[in-house]
Each structure stands twice: as structure tokens, then as C-alpha cells.
Amino acid sequence: MTSQNSSEPVSMQGPVCPVPHYPTDTIVMGHGSGGQMTHDLIQNIFQSQLGNEYLAEGNDSARITLQQLQGQLAVSTDSHVISPLFFLGGDIGRVAVCGTVNDITTSGAQPAFLTAGFIIEEGFSMASLQKIVRSIAETCQEAEVKIVAGDTKVVDKGSADGIFINTAGFGIIPQNLRLGGQYAQPGDAVLISGTLGDHGIAVLQARGELGFDSQIQSDVAPLNHMIHDLLEKIPDIHVLRDPSRGGLATSLKEIACQSQIGIDLFEENIPISQEVRIACEMLGFDPLYLANEGKMIIILPANQADNALELIKKHSYGASAMRIGSVSYEHHTEVLLHTAYGSSRILDMLAGEILPRIC
């Protein structure tokens, strides 16, 4: 054994100072610091998928040149806290885009721009984030909307459930259009663009709460193209409403109150898939109160109803559309469901049901 000579230089095999671990597979607090890590996250995950001329400018605010100053501005915002994040037929990213696109569409506007704010829980998987952002990008492409501004915050583990996404949207409503829940008129027909309850059941199934296997897919879809085509041919539509949380029954009750009219619904005509019907039987849910993310209630003059149905049915998202009811002078502010037996019952807003959060 040779004695060590202190003047001899230490052999350096690799760095002596431990390099900080640079996490690539999970979100950490540093990703929300506003510094280099935030910058990298935005570049690598968000810009690469969602990039466009507005985001590329990298400013605190997007500047949008308005070509047409004629018209009315539609604005809407929605926060998405769905659990689980991925389910059959969709994910939180697709819901976040479609929710706001469809809300803007109900005003008669063609949605053009969205903003997106992300609140991410520390420890969230980078792969999941990538998957969600990809889904947002694909849905934006389908709906032909652009995300022009965004924000990312990271919160401590336990302060959020994976990821929350807020989106806001903007669109121009043509000058001549006045749509809204307050414009339903006695004599109008009530249409629904397809089967009810698919989203609600798909989410419960993904939570493992059905207790049996099913292949029910969420209906989450952007409806702006279908509705745009409809409005081009039939501008005289009085109400469009997206029956998401609270389902068809709650949405119609809101409209009945807003317009101070009554609504008669015919149970036999309401489209519900056999799978959803059976799942509801087993769990004791009423499909009229289950959430939808790709359906539209359309209220318009009765003499236009057949034309409208024909136009919607041409679209893949409207293939199972039905005429389900009519607007009446009777029973003001109440929605009356007529059964096949000749009896009827009042549909109220969703009250006290135990359902997990689903949108």
C-alpha cells in the first residue's frame, strides 16, 4: 500500500458535484416557476402541438385583427375537472375544447379562438400531459379553432386532481342572429341532435363504478360545423343549448323558465341507446339527467322542424337526431314528460342525485 501524496491531482471520473436531477417524466413545481423549466415545457409540449402565428409571437396577450367589425361577439368560459382524465371516446383535452366550442356555437357564432389555462398537480405524468395536449390539438383541428393564449400553473401534490383545464372561447355572431334560452315560443318544436347519457355512463364506467363491463363511448364532439350548416339553411332558430351537466331535463327546465313557456316532451321519441338504458336501469339513474358533451337541443318553428332534422341527420354527429317535443302556452315554466301510457310527470332540475363529477 502506497502512501497517498496530497499534491497529486485527484482523478476526475465524471463530475464531483452532483448534477441536479432534471425530471423529464413528471411535472414538478419548477415547471410552474415561470423560469427556464416553464419556458421549456411551453416550447416542448404546448407550442409543438398547438403552435400557430398567435402563440408564436410569445407575448403576454394575443393581438387579433378583426376583419369584420360588423356583428356580435360571443364569449364563453368553462373549467374542466373531469375524473378520470381518460375514458372511452375521449379525454379531458377533447372535453375542454368541445365544451367551449359547443357553448360558443349555441349563440349562433362560429367559434374562432380559444384560450387554455392549465392547473397541473405536482408529480403529474409528462406522458399523460403530452397525450392530453395532442388530443386538444386534434380536436382544435377538427373544430377549426385556434388556441391563441395559454397559461400553465403547477400546484403542490394534493392541491389538484392531476390536471384542471380552463378554456375560454370567442366567436363572431352574424348581425341578424338572436338566439337564446329566452326566445322559445309556443308552437316551436324541440329537437335533440342524438342519443342521451352516453358521456355520463362512459365516465362512470372509466371510474370503475359500473360494476360490469360496457363499451359505451362518450359522445364528446365539436358540433360547430353541424350547427353552422344548419343555421346557413335555417337561420330562424330560436334556441340552441348544450345539455351537458344536469342533462336534457335540467337544460329544458332552464329554457322553460327563461322563456316563461311550457315544454311538452314525448318519452317514446327521446333517443337513448339500449346500452345506456340498461346501465341506467341497473344503477337507478335517469338518462334525462345524465351529462352529454356532444349533443345540441334545437328549438325552432315547428314548420322548419322536418327540414332541420334532415340537415342534422346528414352529419355524423347528428345521425340519431329526433324531434322530441313542443313548446306550449300551458303549464308555464314546467317541463311535462308524456309517457307512452297516457300519464305525464313534471321534470324538475337535477336535485340531490349522487353522481361523481363528470365534466
Partner: protein, 366 residues
């Protein structure tokens, strides 16, 4: 029979209307009939069958809602257990909003308590396996229908050697409640629709002596519109012909003997005990307690529950509703002070509660 036909056959509007016409042809005087089961109350309201029956028939809604009749003492015990650190308290979802003396399970969950909704007691056993460091308690409520599954959970927990699983036994039994209703000096009930699902498990061998003793006709009845009108038709026929006894209008599901192995399972784990019914009072031998062999799994013994002082709402008159003495809409608080959002009593909470059925299906328009 495929799934579609299986459901739609018993909902066929033409068939239902045909039986309704038969009831109209058959009836000559007023009759008061009680449907025992809250599930039937809801189906009647959901399909609006009460609007379609002849005026002579008054349907009175029975006490067959398990969360409604679970005693305040048991609910307060459940709330006490759920608040203990290191406990995961599991329950059917219906129970979470049922008011105890001061709180409900939802508010305990909101305050950080581990309260989880399960669809089956076996889910609680799985939770206990996955969380060996925590006490997992299942609130074993229900009628004879849930008793076999509750028994199975206890047997399974014993087989698995689970030291951290227990149940709070709260099962109740239908026949003793029928005795109490028919014995009451205020009784108005002339005929019964017996609960089809309870009879699917228990059969209907327990009922002939009750029918005989009180000279009351009974009909085992299912839950679809055609089942219900058929059960009512049979009950009206028996009343009109002055016949007592029990008939089966749900023979596709119910046999006289019932499910003997499910009954055996229940007997292996439980035995009848006196039990308090909320709003009704003590009914002898109307509940299920754990047999000696399984008392290890009794949560009310495992935890040293302290300071339970029950206090019932002064406004809620659910007891009169549960005994069929008044209709929910006749309660002064109905739809005003008491709604599904802020229930004063359990019948406004449960999916089987008569008050909730009236509220949900628009009977609030007095």
C-alpha cells in the same frame, strides 16, 4: 328473450292500458292498497300509473325504504365511527345525505373523513384488503334483499382473516313491519302489494299467516308498469271477491320458497333482533344482528362509541308518511323547508323514499 324485449315487454303501453281497463271493469267500491316497497313507489310515480288508476283506488306508500327507516341511533353511531381517525367508512350512496342528529356522512367527508360510496359490501372487503393499516367499516343497511350479500361479506372477511373489517348491522325485515302496520289502531290498509325483490330472496312462505291473521289480501308484485298494474288488478279482484291469502303476480322472478341458499347464508351470519325503525319505533324481532360466531365483525362492539344523544327534527313527520297515515305532499314542510337539496328527513333523500318520489316526479304541485 333478448335484452330489449325483456325490458320493453313489461312496459308495453297497449298491454298496460288493457290491464288498466280490466281494473276499471272489476272495481265497484273504494279500496286502499299499500305498496310496501319504495322502489315500487318510485316506479308508480315515474310512469304516472297513479294518474291512470280508477278514482276508487288509493295507493298508500309503505315503509320499504331502507335508509328511511334506519334508526337515528344507528346513523349517529355511523357518523361517530366515520369521524374516527384511521377509519375508512363505506356505505351505499343513498345513506350519505341522510341527516343524523347534527350531521350527515357527506359533511363528515367534506371535513376530511374517509367516507367512500360502494355498490356492494364485497367492495368494502376489497378496500379492507388493500388498506390493512386502517379499520374499514361497512354500513350494512337494507331489507332481506341485501342481507345475503352483507352476510357473504362477513364470511369472506373471515376466510381472508381480515382483522380490520367490520360491519354496522342495520338490516331490517318486512313481515314484522306488516304486523305493526296492520295492528295499528289507525290502520287504513285493506290490501298489500308485497315487495317483489324481497320475495325473490325470501319467497312468500312467511306471508299466509299474516294475511290470515288480519284478513288481508296480498299480492307479490314486480316493478315494471305491467307488473304493477297486474299486481293491483289481482289485489282489487281479491278485495272485490272478499278473498284473503297471498297471490303471486311476479312469478317470473319469485317462487313460494324463494332463494333457499341465500336464506341459509343470511341465517348463518345473522339472527332476528328487536330494532328501532325511524319514525315508527321499536318493532320486535324486525332487525338482523350478527350471530355469536361473527360478533368479532360487529363495528358497534369494536368501537367504543361514546356520547350518542339523538335528536330528531321537530318539523319532519316522516313517521306518519312511512306508516301510510299521510301523503308526502300533505306535510307542511314538503317542497318548502324540506327538499332533496336540504332534506329534513330520510324519505326526502333516498331513491326509494316516498317524499323524494313525490318531489322528483312533480307531485309538489298541490
Amino acid at each position: 328473450m333478448d335484452k330489449k324485449n325483456f325490458l320493453s315487454g313489461y312496459r308495453d303501453a297497449a298491454l298496460v292500458k288493457g290491464v288498466l281497463q280490466q281494473i276499471k271493469n272489476r272495481i265497484t267500491k273504494p279500496w286502499t292498497i299499500m305498496e310496501i316497497c319504495g322502489g315500487q313507489t318510485h316506479a308508480i310515480m315515474q310512469y304516472g300509473l297513479d294518474q291512470l288508476l280508477p278514482e276508487e283506488i288509493e295507493l298508500v306508500h309503505g315503509p320499504g325504504c331502507p335508509v328511511c327507516v334506519t334508526s337515528l341511533e344507528l346513523i349517529d353511531q355511523a357518523l361517530w365511527i366515520a369521524q374516527q381517525p384511521n377509519v375508512i367508512f363505506t356505505s351505499f350512496g343513498d345513506m350519505l345525505r341522510v341527516p343524523g342528529s347534527k350531521k350527515d356522512l357527506f359533511s363528515i367527508k367534506a371535513a376530511g373523513g374517509q367516507v367512500r360510496v360502494v355498490y356492494s359490501p364485497m367492495d368494502s372487503v376489497i378496500i379492507a384488503q388493500a388498506n390493512p393499516e386502517r379499520e374499514v367499516v361497512f354500513f350494512a343497511i337494507g331489507f332481506e334483499t341485501t342481507a345475503p350479500a352483507n352476510a357473504m361479506a362477513v364470511i369472506q372477511a373471515e376466510k381472508l382473516g381480515l382483522k380490520n373489517f367490520s360491519i354496522l348491522p342495520a338490516n331490517v325485515l318486512v313481515p314484522p313491519a306488516m304486523h305493526t302496520i296492520l295492528n295499528s289502531p289507525n290502520n287504513r290498509i285493506q290490501g298489500f302489494l308485497a315487495a317483489g325483490h324481497v320475495c325473490a330472496v325470501m319467497g312468500y312462505w312467511e306471508y299466509p299467516p299474516i294475511a290470515e291473521k288480519y284478513q288481508t289480501p296480498m299480492v307479490v308484485t314486480g316493478f315494471e308498469p305491467l307488473d304493477l298494474v297486474n299486481g293491483i288488478y289481482k289485489a282489487v279482484s281479491m278485495l272485490e271477491e272478499d278473498r284473503v291469502g297471498i297471490e303471486n303476480a311476479y312469478s317470473r322472478v319469485v317462487t313460494f320458497d324463494g332463494n333457499r341458499s341465500a336464506q341459509e347464508l343470511t341465517r348463518r351470519v345473522f339472527h332476528p333482533v328487536d330494532r328501532n325503525w325511524r319514525g315508527i319505533g321499536m318493532i320486535p324481532e324486525s332487525g338482523l344482528g350478527l350471530n355469536d360466531t361473527y360478533q368479532y365483525f360487529d363495528a358497534s362492539r369494536r368501537f367504543e362509541i361514546q356520547n350518542i344523544q339523538t335528536q330528531e327534527s321537530k318539523i319532519c313527520i316522516a313517521g306518519q308518511v312511512l306508516q301510510g297515515l299521510i301523503k308526502p305532499s300533505e306535510c307542511p314542510a314538503f317542497g318548502t323547508l324540506c327538499t332533496p337539496q336540504s332534506p329534513l328527513g330520510a324519505p326526502m333523500v333516498s331513491s326509494e323514499g316516498a317524499c323524494a318520489a313525490y318531489y322528483r316526479y312533480g307531485k309538489n304541485a298541490k
